[in-house]
Each structure stands twice: as structure tokens, then as C-alpha cells.
């Protein structure tokens, strides 16, 4: 691995100030993504190799899970995926999030990988992760996936760059209307996860609204409204230890089988977690059954623009919408 300077942050403010000092500094949380990125020597005008790593695990009181029926759930950004998945408060009140937190990678990665790092991890496009491909996302002027191997790429909202957002927890957090607490040079602010992720047209060099010197400090999930059910499902090529071909998180209030209100969010299909508002509109006020769910799926995927090798994802996405939505009433 290339050499870097290592800095242990003592507070969020300290980490923000240090990020501000070094243009090519990177935060390290669990390190399971960022060390792979440095080892692959990924660099380019838009993606400089990190020369300073700022460890935020050394900041006190950043790993915690607090649940309260009125305030909801608060997760410290440094809480590991294992801790989130095993929390009885999360399992009981937000089953979709508990399943999403146990879905990434393997037990040994979830033991160190943090929820903050899972949200902030960089995409897995194999051209992006190969040092020899100076693509748009590294600041180059070409997307290798368009004419190349694109079986795992986007079927919705791809333009310029066709990555899919890799996080399993992000769709779950959006479905649950969660908010990010962020620390930056001007202090703390809140950003709903629904507005947290950005596509390549907005800025191809990054995947979230956060600036270089802004840090995700806490995740806040509101208390579930009465009659809320939530679910997370993921289709992978291998049984385990694999990124999603397509994933889905649904959270909805359902009374006597009728969908009152809710969110449907897909992973693995677009450069950001994809909020399927067409599906939500099709489900609102309806008594849920397979036909209603299929209509919601069709309304969503009619917008799909698959690439040369990934049309199969359209079918998977349709089926997973039907499965996830109907699972809430079975």
C-alpha cells in the first residue's frame, strides 16, 4: 500500500479542521472500503490518492444506538454494521434496517465496517476500481461501461456514468425517512437521506451532497408511525458475500391490508438509491395484492433504460417489488 500520514481525530471539529488543511486527506472509519481504494492505487484528476488518513474511530462517543419511542432511533456514525444488525431495538422497530445491516459483505467486514462508512462507501464499478481506466468518475472524459462490460451497471437514471450505488443500508434508511446529522466548518446541519445522494449529472466525482470537509456524524430515524411495516430484500449472484444485483427497502403504513402511505426504494439499479415514487403512487390507498404490486412494479420499470448486458435487472427489479410489497400483507 502507498504510504500516508495518519492522524487520529479527537473530536468532530478536529476532524473537519484537519480535512480542511489537507486537500487529499480522507476519513477512515472501519477502513474496509477506503484501504481497498488506496491499495488499488486509484487516482485521477477527480480522485487524488489519499496522502493523509484521518481516523475518526478515536473520537469519543461516536458508536452508540439510542432508541426512544418519541425521539426515534439515533445511530452514531461509527457504530458497526454488526452492532446495528444485532440491536433488539432496531430489530423490533425497524426490521428492514436490521436486515439491511446484516446484508453487506461478510461477518468479519461487518465487525469493522461502520454504518457511516457503509453510507459513504465509493461505488464498485470495475472500471472505476481499476487503475488503468481514467473514466469520468476519476475526472477523465470517458465511460468504459457503455461499450464494455456493463452487466452490473445502472438501468435507471444513468447518464455520463452508470454506476449503481453499492450500499445496502442506504435504501433502508431512505425508506424509513431517516436524516443525516452532518458536521462541517460552519457547524452541524441536518440533511434528509432522501436528498443526500446525488447522481452523475449533478456531480460525477462524488455520490453525496457532502463536501470534502463535511462528516456524517449521526443517523436519526423517526419513530415508526402506527401500523408501519418495513422489509429489506436483496438479490445477489452468489448466495452470500456479494453486492446487490437489485435490492429493495419498503416501509409503509398498512391498515386492514390497505396501503396508507409508504416508501419504496431500490438499490443496485441507479447511481443513487432509487426512490420508486411511481410505485408509491400506484400503491397509495390500494388494498395490497399481487396484481396491485405488479402494477406498481410496471409503473416503475417502464422508465428503465437497460444497457447492452443488464436488461435482466429489469425483470429482477419487477419481481422484487412484487415480493417485497406483498410480503407486508402476508
Amino acid at each position: 500500500m502507498r504510504s500516508f500520514k495518519y492522524y487520529t481525530a479527537t473530536s468532530w471539529e478536529d476532524a473537519v479542521a484537519t480535512l480542511g488543511k489537507y486537500k487529499n486527506a480522507q476519513i477512515v472509519a472501519g477502513g474496509s472500503d477506503v484501504l481497498g481504494w488506496i491499495k488499488d492505487e486509484l487516482t485521477g484528476p477527480g480522485a487524488p490518492l489519499a496522502d493523509v488518513l484521518i481516523d475518526i474511530r478515536t473520537i469519543p462517543n461516536t458508536s452508540y444506538i439510542n432508541y426512544d419511542a418519541t425521539a426515534g432511533l439515533k445511530l452514531g456514525a461509527l457504530t458497526t454494521l454488526t452492532t446495528v444488525a444485532e440491536s433488539s431495538d432496531v430489530q423490533k422497530n425497524y426490521p428492514g434496517l436490521a436486515t439491511a445491516a446484516v446484508s453487506p459483505a461478510s461477518p468479519s467486514i461487518r465487525n469493522v465496517g461502520t454504518i457511516g462508512g457503509n453510507i459513504m462507501q465509493r461505488p464498485r464499478c470495475w472500471y472505476l476500481r481499476g487503475a488503468n481506466f481514467p473514466c469520468y468518475k476519476k475526472g477523465g472524459d470517458f465511460c468504459f461501461s457503455v461499450t464494455g462490460e456493463n452487466q452490473y451497471h445502472a438501468i435507471l437514471q444513468g447518464e455520463l456514468c452508470y454506476i449503481v450505488h453499492p450500499s445496502d443500508t442506504a435504501p433502508a434508511l431512505i425508506s424509513l425517512n431517516a436524516t443525516a446529522n452532518v458536521m462541517g466548518p460552519n457547524g452541524a446541519k441536518q440533511i434528509p437521506f432522501d436528498q443526500f445522494f446525488i447522481g452523475p449529472r449533478t456531480n460525477v466525482l462524488k455520490e453525496t451532497v457532502l463536501e470534502h470537509n463535511e462528516i456524517l456524524t449521526e443517523i436519526v430515524v423517526p419513530p415508526p408511525a402506527a401500523n408501519t411495516k418495513s422489509v429489506f430484500m436483496k438479490v445477489t449472484q452468489r448466495g452470500v458475500y456479494d453486492f446487490a444485483l437489485v435490492s429493495i427497502a419498503v416501509a409503509a403504513q398498512i391498515v386492514n391490508g390497505v396501503w396508507q402511505d409508504g416508501r419504496v426504494v431500490l438499490g443496485g439499479v441507479a447511481p443513487t438509491p432509487y426512490r420508486a415514487t411511481d410505485a408509491e403512487a400506484a400503491l397509495k390507498g390500494k388494498k395490497i395484492d399481487a396484481n396491485v404490486a405488479l402494477q406498481a412494479a410496471q409503473d416503475t420499470l417502464v422508465k428503465a433504460r437497460p444497457m447492452s448486458q443488464n436488461a435482466y435487472k429489469v425483470d429482477i427489479a419487477k419481481n422484487i417489488i412484487v415480493q417485497a410489497v406483498t410480503s407486508l400483507v402476508s
Binding site: 500500500m1 495518519y6 477502513g31 484501504l35 468479519s108
Partner: protein, 153 residues
């Protein structure tokens, strides 16, 4: 940037002077001569570099030792009790659960955590615990059987 690290490995305290960008895997193998932990993909994808930190499996290829000072690190060298192999090691040898053996140290460490938490796991629980350890040779059946055998001893 080099620094002095105090690491506790297999119950012994070590002081090493190393570059901060060296991974735990590199420090174990190159500075502490503990070559039982294997070097595979280096990217978190294979699990052969699995060691235990405070009893839980962690990938040493993606861990920075500077962050693990004061924690209890256990490698495959720390598994046997003196000259007596761990029941997992005996079971793996008896059933031929290692072929080329490259995945074995990582599999043993992940299995040890499983048995420490859950002395009589079901086949499914074993599969879950070993989900991050790839084996190119055995097809896994012998590995699962060996963990089951060890759980009965």
C-alpha cells in the same frame, strides 16, 4: 511515517517499529514472523487473512495495526494449547478438511469465534459464520463436517 506500536498478539506483548501504512497482515507476517495468517486478495474478498480481535473475526488485510493497540489479537499460531492442537485443528486433520490449506487459517479463526459463542451450531449457523471465507478446493462440505465434529468434542 514510521511509528512504534505496542501490539498484544496471542497473549504476548510486542513492540514493533513500522510504517503506519502497513496493514496488520503485513506486520504479523513481516515484522512478527507469524506467517500462519495468509495473504490472499488483499481487498477483503477472500477471508484467508482472518484473525481475531478481542475474540471477533476481522480481516487483517484491511486493518491498520496502529488502531488495534491494546486489543487482544489472536492468529492461527495462538489456537493450539502448547503442543495440544485445538479441537478444530484435530477435526480438520482427521476429516481432511484442508486440501491446499491456503484458506484454512482463516476458516479456523472464524470457526473458533463461532464455537466460542455457540458450542453446538447448526449447519446453517456454520455456513453463516463462514460466509466470508472462500475455499477453492474443498467445496465446503468437509469444512462444515469438521466444524461439526469439533463441536462434539
Amino acid at each position: 511515517m514510521k511509528t512504534i506500536l505496542h501490539l498484544r498478539v496471542n497473549g504476548q506483548d510486542h513492540e514493533v517499529y513500522v510504517a503506519v501504512h502497513k496493514t496488520l497482515l503485513e506486520v504479523l507476517r513481516e515484522d512478527l514472523n507469524l506467517t500462519g495468517t495468509k495473504h490472499g486478495c488483499e481487498l477483503g474478498e477472500c477471508g484467508t487473512c482472518t484473525v481475531l480481535v478481542d475474540g471477533e473475526p476481522v480481516l487483517s488485510c484491511l486493518a491498520l495495526p496502529i488502531e488495534l493497540q491494546g486489543r487482544e489479537i489472536t492468529t492461527v499460531e495462538g489456537l493450539a494449547d502448547g503442543a495440544t492442537p485445538h479441537p478444530l485443528q484435530t477435526a480438520f486433520a482427521e476429516l481432511g478438511a484442508a486440501q491446499c490449506g491456503y484458506c484454512t487459517p482463516g476458516v479456523l479463526m472464524a470457526s473458533k469465534t463461532l464455537l466460542d459463542h455457540n458450542p453446538h451450531p447448526s449447519r446453517d449457523e456454520i455456513k453463516h459464520a463462514l460466509a466470508g471465507n472462500l475455499c477453492r478446493c474443498t467445496g465446503y462440505a468437509k469444512i462444515y463436517e469438521a466444524v461439526e465434529l469439533a463441536s462434539k468434542t
